[in-house]
């Protein structure tokens, strides 16, 4: 295990050095040969046991041919891949790879077949985006699963739509484009790039906004608010009742 980590660290460092010198990271542009080779090495070490030696997929994991760089970056940078355990819901956790390693993996998978690319800095730039339109688009396309405040909510049979609070702008973009797990794909044809930028701006607003009305309680609506009133509110009432009725010496 230590050996593996050491090897990963060395490869990562080498890649980082190579990466800065070649500046081959711009998404959509052809990936450098070195990055692809590093990515393939990482893939064979960490991913091939489930996704197959040629990413053709196995009985336990889908094919990655055509999955695209965006999908790889989303799954690995949110820590969902490599999978901790095959459960109903793939959960977010600390990523197992560094950003340069993820970029290498993404570059390798991108060579297997055409798929959604990692968004560029210009695509993720929301300075000219419209927050109000973003809110409307969010409520029409995202809120049904991720909740009106982006806090996430339950799906069927133990699955759930995760909270958007820890998501980076890039991850939100990649999720819309690739539809991870049970999330539908929101292609550029029906949700254009400017509209995606509007949504990013709204998500950033949700992540940083001040709760004007007091405690947000996770913005889960009546569930947490009712639970708090029921436990703390009724508990306090019961406490006062006991105090009023207690016998004095």
């Amino acid at each position: 295990m230590l050996l593996l980590l050491g090897a990963l660290a060395i490869i990562g460092t080498i890649y980082a050095l190579v990466n800065t010198s070649t500046a081959a990271r711009a998404a959509g542009s052809p990936h450098s040969e070195t990055a692809v080779e590093e990515g393939q090495a990482l893939y064979l070490e960490g991913c091939a046991s489930c996704h197959g030696l040629n990413a053709e997929g196995t009985s336990v994991a889908p094919s990655l041919i055509g999955a695209g760089a965006a999908s790889v970056h989303f799954q690995v940078s949110t820590g969902r891949m490599p999978l901790a355990a095959p459960t109903v819901q793939v959960e977010r956790k600390e990523p197992s790879y560094t950003e340069p390693q993820i970029a290498a993996l993404a570059a390798y998978v991108a060579t297997l077949g055409p798929g959604p690319a990692i968004p560029t800095a210009e695509q993720l730039d929301t300075t000219n985006a419209d927050l109000a339109v973003g809110g409307e688009l969010f409520r029409t396309n995202c809120a049904q699963c991720h909740n009106f405040a982006g806090s996430g909510a339950a799906l069927t049979e133990g699955k759930y739509a995760p909270s958007l609070m820890p998501a980076t702008q890039q991850q939100v973009w990649e999720a819309m484009l690739t539809g991870p797990q049970n999330m539908p794909v929101f292609g550029d044809g029906t949700l254009s790039e400017p509209e995606k930028q509007d949504i990013l701006k709204y998500v950033a607003h949700l992540q940083t906004q001040t709760q004007p009305g007091g405690l947000g309680l996770g913005s889960f609506g009546p569930v947490t608010e009712g639970a708090l009133l029921f436990t703390l509110g009724l508990g306090l009432m019961a406490g006062f009742a006991i105090w009023i009725g207690a016998k004095l010496r």
Binding site: E136, V185, G187, T210
Partner: protein, 340 residues
């Protein structure tokens, strides 16, 4: 209770033996201390309530304050809650403390009266009723009695008729039931994205994709009608799956190359739903967890909904944009009285 007499007082003091005097009953210094404590609570409450006025004037509405563990919260509400809320609480605490320490601590018994009236009063009431019955002639004059009962029976009829006509339909307009059965979807009506109202080509919808969509003429209809009724019935979702994943549909080839259009309105009580899981093809209603399988005619697989989700037949027009083939072939949304 049974041995209570006319002269018994409402309250009697329980026997002295059962009562333990409090410290404030026997020690004047303890009573004085309790008095000071109550007064202190009331003074603190006064100061806090005044502080809430200061906070209201001084703190801007949009100011935030970072509370450890709880995150950023509006500063004004935090200040008002702490000052005014605590002030009101202290008034209550002072009152309880006052009652517990200083008000009389003797247990008292409040006697309950018998609910039944005295025999004389009961007899008088029966006599008055009988006299009224005889004087009015209600029993002796059957024609009056029967016509009165008849009048009372027709009285509710206007209520029923007026309620039915609360909805006034113009001459020739469809009845409320007919309106519930149809939407503004029609043959060759373009399907456009919700919010941005862009027409959709089949290649815009990827496999696993989801699009919230409305009919192209929705905004004109909304402006004409001045309400959102058309939207409430016509909202749909487009989903795309591989054609071999489609088990069944509500009509022969109602999809377009794996793109399926389903109503967005739950058939249980009408919540809008778009919780679509692209792998299971399940559509889940957040209100009561009704689950529809969009790969299998939109049939209900879980939950209280009694009816499948209505499917809209679609195709493409000459310019290659997705259009409806016709209106829905069954009423959308929850059941209603006249639904066939």
């Amino acid at each position: 209770m049974s041995d209570s007499t006319e002269t018994e007082p409402d309250f009697v003091t329980a026997t002295e033996a059962a009562h333990h005097p409090r410290r404030t009953d026997v020690d004047p210094r303890a009573a004085k201390r309790a008095e000071r404590q109550v007064a202190t609570l009331f003074v603190l409450a006064t100061l806090l309530i005044l502080a809430s006025l200061v906070a209201y004037v001084v703190i801007p509405v949009d100011a935030g304050v970072e509370i450890p563990l709880l995150g950023p919260i509006g500063a004004l509400n935090v200040a008002l809650g702490l000052s005014l809320g605590l002030g009101i609480l202290l008034i209550g605490l002072g009152a309880i403390h006052w009652a517990r320490k200083l008000m009389p601590g003797n247990e008292v018994v409040a006697m309950r009266h018998e609910l039944r009236s005295e025999p004389d009063e009961r007899r008088a009431a029966v006599e008055a009723f009988d006299r009224g019955l005889a004087d009015s002639g209600f029993a002796q004059r059957p024609i009056i009695r029967r016509t009165l009962i008849g009048a009372m029976l027709v009285l509710p009829l206007p209520l029923v008729i007026l309620l039915r006509d609360l909805y006034t339909s113009p001459q020739g307009a469809p009845s409320p039931a007919e309106q519930l059965e149809q939407t503004i979807w029609d043959s060759d009506m373009r399907i456009v994205t919700d919010v941005s109202l862009n027409p959709i080509k089949p290649e815009d919808v990827p496999v696993g994709g989801l699009v919230a969509a409305v009919p192209a003429n929705l905004h004109e209809v909304e402006e004409e009608e001045g309400n959102l009724n058309a939207r409430a019935k016509a909202a749909i979702i487009l989903v795309r799956m591989r054609p071999d994943e489609i088990v069944s549909q509500q009509g022969e080839a109602w999809d377009y190359q794996g793109i399926l259009a389903y109503s967005k309105i739950c058939t249980h009580v009408g919540c809008p739903i778009a919780l679509y899981e692209q792998r299971t093809h399940h559509l889940l209603c957040p209100c009561h967890q009704s689950t529809f399988d969009l790969a299998d005619s939109g049939n209900v697989v879980f939950g209280p909904a009694a009816r499948q989700m209505p499917q809209l037949p679609i195709t493409v027009d000459d310019e290659g944009y997705l259009v409806a083939v016709s209106d829905f072939q069954q009423p959308v949304g929850p059941s209603f009285w006249e639904r066939s």
